[in-house]
Symmetry: D2
Subunit: 309 residues, 4 copies
Amino acid sequence: MTDFTGVFPILATPFRDDESVDEASLRAMLGFVAGLGVEGVTVLGVLGEANRMSDRERENVVRVAVESARGRMAVIVGVSHPGTHATIELGAMAASLGADALMVAPSAEPVPSEPRVADYYARVCAGVTLPVVLQDHPASTGVHMSVAAIARIVGENPGIACIKAEAVPSAAKIEALSAALPRRVPMLTGLGALYGQFDLEKGSSGYNTGFAFPEVLQAHLAAWRRGDRALARRIWAHFLPLIVFEQQPGVAVRKEILRRRGLIAGGIVRHPGAALAAGSAAQLTGLLEFVMPGVDVRQPIDVAAIVGA
Amino acid sequence: MTDFTGVFPILATPFRDDESVDEASLRAMLGFVAGLGVEGVTVLGVLGEANRMSDRERENVVRVAVESARGRMAVIVGVSHPGTHATIELGAMAASLGADALMVAPSAEPVPSEPRVADYYARVCAGVTLPVVLQDHPASTGVHMSVAAIARIVGENPGIACIKAEAVPSAAKIEALSAALPRRVPMLTGLGALYGQFDLEKGSSGYNTGFAFPEVLQAHLAAWRRGDRALARRIWAHFLPLIVFEQQPGVAVRKEILRRRGLIAGGIVRHPGAALAAGSAAQLTGLLEFVMPGVDVRQPIDVAAIVGA
Amino acid sequence: MTDFTGVFPILATPFRDDESVDEASLRAMLGFVAGLGVEGVTVLGVLGEANRMSDRERENVVRVAVESARGRMAVIVGVSHPGTHATIELGAMAASLGADALMVAPSAEPVPSEPRVADYYARVCAGVTLPVVLQDHPASTGVHMSVAAIARIVGENPGIACIKAEAVPSAAKIEALSAALPRRVPMLTGLGALYGQFDLEKGSSGYNTGFAFPEVLQAHLAAWRRGDRALARRIWAHFLPLIVFEQQPGVAVRKEILRRRGLIAGGIVRHPGAALAAGSAAQLTGLLEFVMPGVDVRQPIDVAAIVGA
Amino acid sequence: MTDFTGVFPILATPFRDDESVDEASLRAMLGFVAGLGVEGVTVLGVLGEANRMSDRERENVVRVAVESARGRMAVIVGVSHPGTHATIELGAMAASLGADALMVAPSAEPVPSEPRVADYYARVCAGVTLPVVLQDHPASTGVHMSVAAIARIVGENPGIACIKAEAVPSAAKIEALSAALPRRVPMLTGLGALYGQFDLEKGSSGYNTGFAFPEVLQAHLAAWRRGDRALARRIWAHFLPLIVFEQQPGVAVRKEILRRRGLIAGGIVRHPGAALAAGSAAQLTGLLEFVMPGVDVRQPIDVAAIVGA
């Protein structure tokens, strides 16, 4: 059972040209990150385009993920749904297939209500058997949870085992939550690692995000943990241009990088998601050459060598 | 095959206390409106809480609806989904179960784009075998389609057989669309009939909404069609207080009325949907007594008698 | 000093063809409603297009309103502003010109926060000398205030003298607020009187809205207060088709009616506000003839005669 | 007359503890950036908290800016307003005080409409005497303008002299606009320089943003223009951690840096804007030490020395 500390990549869902799920690529990605030694993965998040998939397809992705993980890493499954009943049903599906945890974000309702959001988590935690990652990501959900509301939810629901801290400014929120939570709960950094260094300084337990070079996040976190703060800063700063590029809206940029890494066969985004903007591919080529000249991204990259450590 | 002219009630999805789908109530509702002689029904719209249901549950609702309709009325199935691929998959499901038409609304994307919405309809129309009702309901979708955009979509997609005109001011939009559409397409009135009289004056072909007394809408439309405009106005005006009451946000009010009509066993709304506000039940009692004193709402009501025609 | 009980029309701001403020029409409107015996007026609300006016123009409207009122009725001035400092500055301006009260709604901030909204009211109440009408109108502000938050704000700020209750469902919110407020505060009905009957049943103290026939609201309220509930319902129901028509989005419909009433010279809406939709004028003619056949709307209308009381 | 090419800092509006405008600090900032040799400044943008200021205060800021600039640099004035008439009035004020250009962004209306936005620019351009910077910043305006819409607006209004390109992904939009515009219009980079390198690659003419070290943007742009692309990338990448930190939501972070630079006396943000999050000040100290160890930020910094060029 994971302690939600470390690096947990969020996986894209690869699609074929006809937009059907590309299982082979999914397995390739899972095998690659398992080989890196990450602590776990999350499937069916925003980056996974879960909201554009049918329930049957979601189930299939979970099955493939659990099979590929083979216990080498935790499998966290995004099960957020506008209906609480359906969230619980998806949670039961994930549990029955052998997943390790669920990621749950609240849905926007016409009249925002923190008590209702709290009730959502209470029902979900009561209805599922797996630990829950509370995702605090207003940019995608439209739901703003105050520090006090999250503290209350965490206090009332022992099933909440982790917070994915994606409300900006994230470092400040992590700091405020650390002071307010009634028990210690690991908080993981998302948002493509954009604020990774700042979050670590305030107590983040690691990464749970889709940056296409998880080995960078591993090196960053490892340096930070062993107290080499200067190196940690250098690693994060070195890759920041790529982090910023990837963090542009839409999943197409990230899928293009995954494609270049040989992890997915094609960078197809499901309609109506935006495809890669014209001109971005060339820009990415130049950027990769700037950040890691001469490096073959199809292999795990040697972060220490690249930053000259 | 329906011509999308007449009264097509939008059905609520009845739930038991444990929030599971109450098939018996669903059949009762379907039987009741079929008995009224409506031209069709729509299942799995916003009122149907489709967004809070799993795919399996949606499939079951369609099966029950088609079985209960037994060809007596058209069955239109809401299949809107944030992913185009999934919309088409839901459309195939509905077709395979014997539905007659699909209702399709666009989904909001981070960067609104009328060309992308047009592409959505083009892909859906190319991918499904049933006629499509284009739902123009910005209040629920967050997507605003200009008159020009809808005209273009209708022109490019022969599969679009009807427009559910729910962008306010609806009468003005119906009038503008009538002038702009490249071919005649029936436009149906939604929004709980709130603007029903105004829409009819501008060319609405009938009703496609969830007002809990479809017999009122039938009487209104019938009077209008046979040229008795004074009676038509009287009918609509007479029931307007109830229409306004029902049109308050949330589906709980409407479900409470359906419960009182004996059509559903309980007024349960799926979490996190808002339950009936305290005090509303008593208010409804007074309102029903004002609008139709002494009338047993468990039977089809005699509209002419009530308005004194 | 008003007790915020009765009918307080919200006034449109009349503009000339060149969009400059039409003072003569403004005076005409003020004189008309004063002649009706209303308890007060509100200038510079949403209907008053305050957000499209310069500070200098606002000041001028207040000056004209106070002059025209000549103590015959209270003058409430909308002073909501995205900046708290500026709200207070506008409040000082209104006070210096002799206004009687201020209407204040909170502004949406990127991260919604009830404590910050409470702080907004605390600062404003501390900074102004006039009583404050707290406007709860999420549809225009994007700010949702829970019953608990409003109760807290009212408890902490003696300066809050009235609540304009425009969060739907409004009757339910009025009922909940009545139970939750730490002291009695009059609550007034807005939203164009759409839910007027329902609000009165739950404790509304009257009207603070822009419906173009304030004499209807006066008659409705008077009947209700003297215990003639049947007549009250009849009055409201009789005019409901017109209320619904007027309550369509935008201020153009209402300005057109005011124009027909002879109260404003022209129905100009400031750009980029939407002008009257084509076809709406004809529709309005038919509607007025239906609701009050043969009545000269340029005079105060005889509500009792029209409803046959 | 400026050609909108180069570096045009967006200025914060400094406030005293009582939130009144701190003119002395404003003059200090203006003097500092003039001393750097920037091509111009923009006052009263989002960073300038213009939306929280009264008209009188805005006028004062413009007066001070023009006086301080003394012709050494262009003064661009933000005059966006929800009302077109008021935008023009503010534009006349700025012109009469000697400003050089206006920055104009559209306002969100209930029903988004590109033709209405085009009409807004047409009216403003016809009504003002100064060149207009079209600001395309959906994150603050809520208005999305397609490439085609902007091209049409630019084509129809010779008065539009520049585009502030802040719709993400900005580099892709700049590239698309370059191909679509009917005449060449300089496009400036905003968004705190977050995508500065990417924008330059696609044709940005420089910077129009509030990053608190304009000398970095000058060095970046200069290196790029003289063809030293490697150095340009190095400069941008070197300061990117600070750019990312500053680009966190709210203006408080930026004001704190300006305070440390000695340009403003205090970092006060007008209520209800969020103050600096607890813990951010310490974090900033560490970050500045990492990015430019030992550097006195109260003086213009030596970018070449810092990046080791």
